[in-house]
Symmetry: C2
Subunit: 792 residues, 2 copies
Amino acid sequence: MGKKSNKNKENHMLYFGGKDWGVHEEALDLGRSTLAETIFAQANGYIGTRGTHEEGITGNPTSTEGTYLNGLFVRDPYNYPENAHAFATHNNKIIQVPNGKAICVSADSETFLPGESVMEDYSRHLDFQTGLMERSLIWSTTSGKRLKIASRRLVSLNNLHLLAIEYQITAENFDGGAQIESCLDAAYGAGEVDPDDPRVGHLSITKSLVKKEEKAEEGASSYLHQIKDSDVIIRSATSETLQGTTPVRSHVLKEKGRLGTRYEMTLKQGQPVTLTKFITYHHGVAGEEDTLASRAADTLKAAQKTGFAHHAVTQQQKLAEFWSGADVTIDGDPQLQQGIRFNLFHIYQSAGKDGRSNIGAKGLTGPGYDGHYFWDTEIYIIPFFVYSYPEVARSLLEYRYSILDKARERARQMSYAKGALFAWRTIGGEECSAFFPAGTAQYHINAAVAYAIRQYLQATQDWDFIGKFGAEILWETARIWMGLGHFNPRKGGQFCIHAVTGPDEYTAMVDNNFYTNAMARQHLRTALEVAVHLKKHDRKCYDALVEKLCLEESELALWKKAEENMYLPYDKELGINPQDDTFLDKPRWDFENTPTENYPLLLHYHPLVIYRHQVLKQIDVMLAMVLLGEQFDADLKRRNFEYYDPITTHDSTLSTSMNSVACSELGLYDKAYQYFEESVRMDLDNRHRNTEYGLHTACMAGSWMTVVLGFGGMQIRDDKPNFNPYLPGKWPSYSFSVRFRESRVHVAVSSKEVVYTLTDGGALEIAHGGKPLKLAPGKPVTVPLAATEHAA
Amino acid sequence: MGKKSNKNKENHMLYFGGKDWGVHEEALDLGRSTLAETIFAQANGYIGTRGTHEEGITGNPTSTEGTYLNGLFVRDPYNYPENAHAFATHNNKIIQVPNGKAICVSADSETFLPGESVMEDYSRHLDFQTGLMERSLIWSTTSGKRLKIASRRLVSLNNLHLLAIEYQITAENFDGGAQIESCLDAAYGAGEVDPDDPRVGHLSITKSLVKKEEKAEEGASSYLHQIKDSDVIIRSATSETLQGTTPVRSHVLKEKGRLGTRYEMTLKQGQPVTLTKFITYHHGVAGEEDTLASRAADTLKAAQKTGFAHHAVTQQQKLAEFWSGADVTIDGDPQLQQGIRFNLFHIYQSAGKDGRSNIGAKGLTGPGYDGHYFWDTEIYIIPFFVYSYPEVARSLLEYRYSILDKARERARQMSYAKGALFAWRTIGGEECSAFFPAGTAQYHINAAVAYAIRQYLQATQDWDFIGKFGAEILWETARIWMGLGHFNPRKGGQFCIHAVTGPDEYTAMVDNNFYTNAMARQHLRTALEVAVHLKKHDRKCYDALVEKLCLEESELALWKKAEENMYLPYDKELGINPQDDTFLDKPRWDFENTPTENYPLLLHYHPLVIYRHQVLKQIDVMLAMVLLGEQFDADLKRRNFEYYDPITTHDSTLSTSMNSVACSELGLYDKAYQYFEESVRMDLDNRHRNTEYGLHTACMAGSWMTVVLGFGGMQIRDDKPNFNPYLPGKWPSYSFSVRFRESRVHVAVSSKEVVYTLTDGGALEIAHGGKPLKLAPGKPVTVPLAATEHAA
């Protein structure tokens, strides 16, 4: 295990219980309420809302309220104590919208407040199959009146603009008065965050949105906001109905930043009163105010008409469709089973699905990293979608096309005459990294996008995407390498790339980062392959693109020369690939004298102290070994692993999942399993102690790779999926599915055999351990598992 | 010439005229008034005031008013868009104090305002021998009344707390009323500055000082301020008298932020009225309010008693003393003569002389770099003082001792268990660099301090300084190298230093920067030599220090091992010293396609673009060749020069002077001369176009080195000054003085001979061209100059 093993050997509490298909809590723990808000977050790729209580919660900072709209951001200027040319000028902060979840209930002149009021029988459950979060509790007032409060809510996967809540109260031991207040709150805070932790985001609804209009009438509230310094407008609206009683009175509320209705009613013992509330968000540009208003009204009207139960049913249907292609089963270990499903559920929830939004490093579950998108999407998340739900993969890649002009702008700022350079972190496309040595210097972002396009194309043969979007992205981004690198006469004319940072941010601004060079080579190859294919099969498309991009034949020739002569550092003495030209010269980090509490290192040492040592935040050479597995032989991989594993802290959540895949391939089954355990419940067990700011989506999706690419040994070879599965020692069996072209194969691995079953589409040729297997519908193929294929 | 030669070949206007001993202007040019304010600045090492007009000036931003107190600063928190561990937390901004120069005159219901009012016969002169700035002009009112205004001012070099002005008006063609208003202005602005230029400072009096008290009566005003968030208090006070008239009336002024007196008087044609104004500044800590008040009162009382003329005389005397040891004469080129004296005059003015202040990169002449001190002092400025005015050199080095505890703190922040790490830029000692790749990463700051101590010791044998301050500084700072570097098994156990930045900031965070390693080696050698000496000659002092610092014998042994095994990069193929381990691998900057207007590169290219090319902002390897000249042979120096000179932009003003020294030694006389010309009038001709923010003190002092070390070929060899002079082709003769130990030698070089004359102290052994020469009082020695010793 890497060097953080000490830390990770702490006895992790099992914070959140749950069965196979959900996560739940049986008590309200104020000490981890912000953590729970992340874990219980719900989203549909457009709306994301944290798992806060409708009533709020007592104390501060026990809560970080947040409802986000994916792809929307406010531009916030950066002020550097010391500026330099082409530093990122603005941050993009994800937009928080008014909180429509706000509901509270009063009785006996008391207002129910979680954490403060006396409660019994509290439980909360988020179900991965229904998509519903359900909470139930009994509230006792000081005088002993007991009210049962039961609520359910969903963020609709069928209607991206809809959030729905069913909130029911029942007097358990009395007849008498009660009040329910339902609001749309545009003034909530973002909770307190650590200003010195660069991983934390700082969001504020009031600093981002300018109120243009507010309207409140009984049971209906709405806001129109404009994003500061932009022409983007947002309509937020709620509509609610009350069943089971007729209010004695109702008041329309228009407080500072809050709109809503207070209903006064008389409860009868045992007779439930239900508030059904729908919340909708729409955005557009200035001038579309009326359109947004009518779209919001239509959404709410239609929702009220069909009712909560209807949406609950269609939500479950949509999720069933998702799980049919995405589910991973792990028998014999409910915690791991819960972990992997938790991860996939959240990844699916958070991913943008409109071709103009992506998936943040924290999904839509918290303020961390200000909602930014990173290379996490392309390298860690898209593989899951490519093989499970490819239409989302395409949508995420189309997002890159939507910001291609911004990437071109960035390339010009960085003095490239041609090409496009994707920002290290962004929402709208501009570079938002305010620390360039570990941001802008990570040029491998371009290669990551190219890698994902290639993987998507390989699995789907979606040449329509390539013609419309993919080729243009590939070629424009490929051009950057030629501006960045050079044929180095001192290295026999090999193509060298200087002053870059690889994935491992504990080393910065180095020459010939192995990962970057290897991925650049693959990028250039893909760009050339696509050029050759289009030229041959879709000449019209090819010619149009060449003309549009003023792409010259000589450029293609140069790409070829560069990829053929790409310099990949190799140290003969050690027989390994140095992480960069000077890495091996540096002294090893003094792990023996580093106290456990000094991890993650980045929070306890100045960057320069870290940079001058051999120490990795996350795998780097080994990541190339995994992603480009077919290009390197097993011995080299093993030597690299043996060298780098002991000096890797895994301070980044992007590290352990891919390292597990590497271990599987190298037959290091125990380590593979340990790294899998690290990854699969990273957030559920809050192993990095910052899940309160949002989930780690790359790690979550990475855990899918540890199963499918690692344990299942899946690799694309000779244009077909090749499996090489083994059974991690402790499990009776596990299974997963892989979509390839028009078909889907279900792979079930048990102690004695592997069963391959076509669950969708026509006949498919796969391979098992390198030997071809033909799968036909209705005819599962069983292959015995050799003893050597088991973990020790 | 380096690559910026195109830019520098522009026809530089001779902005400022002047004879041998001064600088003057014959017209008021609003387009360069802020530049003139810098050029005409006056200072005494404690007070510095810009050459603004007493009356202000019309328009904005035609003026940057500023009066500074050296060593005083306000701590201003840094807010990073993305923070990291041990980043500098606060800036130190030099304190601006209330402007006591403010005087204005009215007549005919008009107020005289330079740049707006009608003027004739304007002239202004700053005299390097008297230290006075004198201005004279005739103002015509709209109705045709003419007033002669003549003023003189000085910042006393004899009383560091005193600024004096004599302001005289004479009615030229009328009898009638006039008013003079004299103020102490605590609300002036700092002018407009470019927020994106990292070299510019942003100062504000009102954001730095909190007013504690104000007092105004006729002819006397005073403020008491406290520096924000500190216990430092400052008393500013003025006192003025009027001669030649009795005011008809006078009003005490107490406007917002301004105190003063308005005098109404009746002028008689041809009869001058003179306002004599003294301004004083004192600082202390809270609790010392009364002391400061009486010190200020005493200063003003004594000054008024002796009168302006007295101070003018003592000022000239003090300067005569300075020039006797410092003057450099250049015959046959008045502009160069003016340039070198301008430089030395300003260096002397600005240097702190109290052991607790230093000399800012901009002296006390402008807001640039917020008044910070850099290594400029030790490498560029102290040599001049060591050989011309060694008591100032000692004072500047004592400043380092005064901040040694802060350097220890910084070392702990940077994870060094032992030792002291001087801040890259600071006033009070804490690290103020908000851009660590070109700040904190420049560990060579420690070596620079050690280098200056060695040079000072060599010239003065001041072991008293070493025992009290020097040894402790040397040893504490030496310790850092052992924490920073390591004995690299991959380089045969040589001592290597990783992730540092050398003087050339166009390459950052590299391994084994040649300059840093070479200077570290010298640092360790000096630390050891001093240890050996003290142990032998002052055991008590040695033992006390060893105990205080817990210095172990094993540490000394390790220093020895490190200096003996210091790795200095050398490339066999090219026969040069690579700037660092990877420098030669990078592609050369494309100078041919870089437009002239893109210099300085740092303002037109992202750091990463610059970092990945072979291009130098300033000399780096060559600086080591100059500073450690005796350690490297001439062929190596020549090869290094030939390699690096064509790729050096000299975008830093620290570059050309030292390069000129190198050229002299290499016999490249034309280049040496060109680089000298670049340096010696850098500010007078505003060649870097930012002199309006302050002078470039390192470049100014550097021009002294180009003459003495370059043309004069002075080097300390075998513990004595060795001269090897030549005559730059265009000059009939030049001369300079060098103080060594208790003596001073005057060196006069003409076309046929060199005359060495002892001008102070007893007999001294020197060398000429390596051959010993004995100098005795009253017996000049003349040595013929061989023809080969002339420039081509």
